[in-house]
């Protein structure tokens, strides 16, 4: 027990932590989906959540922006600390959490609006109304998402005119336009072809200069390529959390070893 608790905080060269998950349990109704999860999210790094399907990695990710609050019967126990505040606290409005922790989904889900309006929506929700300021932020976000050169002449066109990979980059632009503290990626490439996947991965690599990234992926190769830190989850528990190269090369747990070597999952 003591060993398990101490594991996540083991030998990190970085002291700069963005968020910390402490003793997190999560329930869908009566079924317990997360069991005593402890982990740290290092700032401006890519942290990957891996594990076999049903292990709770997406569930954990969606705790970070309180997505579970949208559906009745869900319950959190424990803390996710961000700037000294427990964002899972009932007194914290999930809207405020989502304004600082944004999300990119599994399938590209742009709004059926113009490219510009898609990126501008988060800004408008946050009360930015000055046309020029919005314009600048939209351009900046589209540039960061490596989409600007492709769409700058057709910002008023529908986002649905874009290809799947472009739509996902648009969703990334939408998620980063508001300068969030953390961007959550929920298997962002699982619906994309290999070329679009590569461009999204490049983008994630670029983005970690500015923002902290937490990514769920079912592909171990992707986790190995992209992330600085990796958490391995199994049956709702976080079994192992370490720097990616350590976790992949010298896993502490037998199960982690079996999973990363492709023996199950």
């Amino acid at each position: 027990m003591v060993e398990e608790l101490s594991l996540p905080k083991l030998n990190f060269p970085t002291t700069d932590l963005k968020a910390e998950v402490q003793d997190l349990d999560f329930y869908y109704g009566t079924s317990k989906a997360l069991k005593n999860v402890n982990m740290s999210v290092p700032a401006r790094k890519v942290t990957a959540l891996i594990g076999p399907s049903g292990c709770g990695k997406t569930t954990l990710l969606r705790c970070f922006n309180r997505m579970h609050d949208l559906y009745p019967g869900n319950r959190y126990d424990g803390q996710i600390m961000l700037d000294g505040i427990n964002i899972l606290d009932r007194k914290v409005d999930p809207i405020e959490v989502r304004m600082r922790i944004s999300m990119v989904f599994q399938r590209p889900n742009p709004f059926p609006k113009s490219i510009y309006d898609n990126v501008a929506y988060g800004l408008r929700v946050q009360g930015l109304t000055k046309r020029q300021a919005v314009d600048e932020k939209v351009e900046q976000a589209l540039k960061s998402a490596a989409l600007w050169s492709e769409v700058k002449d057709r910002l008023t066109e529908s986002a649905y005119a874009l290809s799947g990979g472009q739509q996902q980059r648009l969703c990334i632009a939408r998620a980063i336009a508001t300068d969030p503290d953390i961007v959550l990626f929920d298997e962002p490439t699982s619906a994309l072809d290999p070329i679009a996947t590569a461009s999204i991965e490049d983008l994630v690599n670029e983005l970690k200069q500015q923002v902290t990234i937490l990514i769920v992926t079912h592909s171990m190769q992707q986790a190995a390529r992209l992330s600085d830190y990796t958490a391995f989850m199994y049956l709702g528990e976080l079994l192992e959390f370490n720097q990616t190269n350590v976790l992949f090369n010298q896993p502490a747990h037998k199960r982690t070893q079996d999973y990363v070597s492709g023996r199950f999952g």
């Binding site: 922006n65 997505m67 949208l70 009745p72 809207i95 405020e96 989502r98 304004m99 944004s102 999300m103 989904f105 399938r107 889900n109 742009p110 709004f111 059926p112 929506y121 988060g122 929700v125 946050q126 529908s158 649905y160 005119a161 969703c171 939408r174 998620a175 508001t178």
Partner: protein, 312 residues
């Protein structure tokens, strides 16, 4: 459709069974075609005979004259103005109430046994005979609330009548929006109302509008509930205009005016013994059909326009 010589050297031992299944399949296609043909022919014959019968009366004067005891002088002015005003009142009440109720039930209400009960009852209300609504309106609006035999009473009655249709189609339109889009809006920090107002409502607008118009085209043909609440069958004056030449320019007096509507005018003429009045009834029928078809055509156009380029 295998040629004869091929069927002789059949590919599988189940050849006969396959041919039999194919025969059943194609005979249904023929049967279906026949049924559609009959249904359309009957409808077409009815409309054509109506148009042919009513044609001599369909002129400008017919639209600008009040009813009269002389069939050649009689027109539908009071009826079509009444229909338009009653429809306007119906819209005014049915749209905000129905859409808001639909939004609440679909997006806000907790999904429990109470919501299920309400859902079943709303759907059932859509099937209640319209004369029952007429009786309810006679007691409630006309007498209890003392609104009399007015445009307002008629509008409220028809609004009640089409409310279930508007609620059900609003809910269906909202339900058709993928959850992924709701989550996308929430993930950006939208409140529930922002999610609805900025996203779900605009995206489902075309479908909601279609539902409203289908409701309206049902209401425009309703006769029974309006007769129940005491619509006049012979009326030789118009309600006061909603827009007045003097201050304050807008008047709501028309809401309290007595009225008649197209189907009642038609009903009145049909029940007259004179042959000439039958021509008037046919002509009014043609106008009513055109009104309904226009509404429906408008709904189809809107659906097409709003759904163009929007797919998920």
């Amino acid at each position: 459709m295998a040629p004869a010589e091929l069927s002789a050297q059949s590919l599988s031992p189940a050849h006969n069974a396959v041919s039999r299944r194919q025969l059943i399949s194609s005979s249904f296609a023929i049967l279906g075609l026949l049924v559609i043909f009959i249904a359309l022919m009957v409808l077409l014959a009815l409309v054509t005979s109506l148009v042919l019968q009513g044609a001599p009366r369909l002129n400008w004067k017919f639209f600008t004259s009040f009813p009269s005891s002389d069939p050649l002088e009689a027109g539908i002015l009071a009826a079509w103005v009444g229909s338009v005003l009653v429809m306007l009142t119906t819209m005014l009440f049915a749209i905000p109430l129905g859409v808001a109720a639909g939004i609440y039930l679909e997006e806000y209400a907790p999904k429990n046994w109470l919501a299920a009960l309400i859902e079943i009852n709303v759907t059932n209300l859509a099937g209640v005979p319209s004369i029952v609504y007429g009786l309810l309106a006679l007691g409630l609006f006309s007498q209890q609330l003392n609104l009399g035999e007015s445009v307002l009473t008629a509008g409220l009655t028809l609004a009640l009548l089409i409310l279930p249709i508007v609620i059900v189609t609003t809910r269906e339109a909202l339900r058709a929006i993928p959850n992924l889009l709701r989550e996308a809006a929430y993930a950006l920090g939208a409140s529930r109302w922002q999610m609805i107002w900025d996203h779900i409502l605009p995206y489902s607008f075309g479908s909601i509008l279609t539902g409203i118009i289908i409701g309206m085209s049902r209401a425009i043909g309703e006769t029974a509930p309006l007769i129940t609440i005491g619509a006049l069958t012979f009326i030789a004056f118009l309600p006061p205009l909603p827009i007045q030449p003097e201050f304050p320019f807008i008047s709501f007096e028309w809401l309290t005016a007595p009225f008649t509507v197209m189907p009642i005018q038609m009903f009145n003429w049909v029940s007259r013994p004179e042959q000439e009045f039958q021509v008037n009834a046919a002509a009014a029928g043609v106008v009513l059909i055109v009104m309904t078809l226009t509404l429906n055509g408008f709904a189809i156009y809107l659906r097409y326009r709003f759904r163009k380029g929007v797919k998920w």
